[in-house]
Amino acid sequence: MSFEEFEHQARLYVLEAMDDDERASFEAARRQFGQPAESVIEECKRLNAAFALALRPQPPKQEAKAKLMALIQKSLAEKRATKA
């Protein structure tokens, strides 16, 4: 695989759209190309966020955050109790 082909396929890799055999081949090339390959993948990861950011945000229900933070506090208390 040439580096140019790697660059093209990196977008598919980041979107997890590759089939197993393609992914194995891509990951072998990733190891072969080293740091330049990592930089390409890093850049492509922006695609993932872009698709989400293109959607109109939908605020969760008012009570959802309070429920989450109560679970977080409970989890913290359990961790502290385990340590003590």
Binding site: R11, L15, A50, F51, L53, L55, P57, P59, I72
Partner: protein, 197 residues
């Protein structure tokens, strides 16, 4: 949006993730305020169910809290990591719940609309977020419908290239070309938004 570029006095996403790694609830609270709307919209876009999206959102933030040690800045921006978590969890949920027939029916209707125009419109976002979204929607809206459909099947339904080919009845080579061309166009469009997220 990554708000650190909007207001330098606010902690960056990465600084908040560092706080979460230290198990600081306030850091998680700020990440929630900043991105719960975006992550819920993504979950909703994938599972098409309000109650399940709410459940997923809670699970995702618990994941962020419990697995923050797995996040390092070497893995990329915090937002990208959170979006990946959301997407994977939502697609898993979708696969467990929905039959393919039901998905097909919805997709047929939805692929006719640009991505930014979907979902409930119950919130007035801040101006910066709206501007960013408008730019991203424009980039994606410029894609030919066939390329957009292929990308949406991959991103929002978690299909591989072969699965898309089987689902649409279009040759695999054509699907590969559509995905590659479409994703390249989006990537090129994003270059003008460097450092924004």
């Amino acid at each position: 949006m990554s708000h650190e570029t909007v207001n330098a006095s606010r902690p960056s996403d990465e600084e908040l993730m560092e706080g979460v790694r230290r198990q600081d609830p306030e850091a998680l609270s700020q990440l929630y305020d900043r991105y719960s709307g975006v992550l819920k919209a993504l979950a909703m876009r994938i599972v098409h169910n309000e109650a399940e999206s709410e459940d997923l959102l809670q699970e995702i933030y618990m994941d962020i809290w419990n697995h923050s040690q797995n996040y390092t800045q070497e893995k990329g921006k915090a937002l990208g990591w959170m979006v990946t978590l959301t997407r994977r969890r939502s697609i898993d949920r979708l696969r467990k719940r929905l039959s393919y027939a039901r998905v097909e029916e919805r997709l047929q209707h939805e692929t006719e609309q640009p991505p930014g125009g979907r979902g409930h419109h119950s919130v007035d976002d801040d101006l910066e977020a709206s501007d960013m979204r408008a730019v991203l929607t424009k980039i994606m809206g410029r894609l030919p419908p066939a390329q957009r459909e292929a990308i949406e099947l991959a991103y929002f339904q978690g299909m591989s290239q072969r699965e898309i080919a089987a689902h649409t009845g279009i040759p695999l080579g054509t699907i590969k070309t559509r995905l590659e061309l479409g994703l390249k166009k989006i990537s090129d469009g994003l270059k003008g938004l460097k450092n924004e997220f």
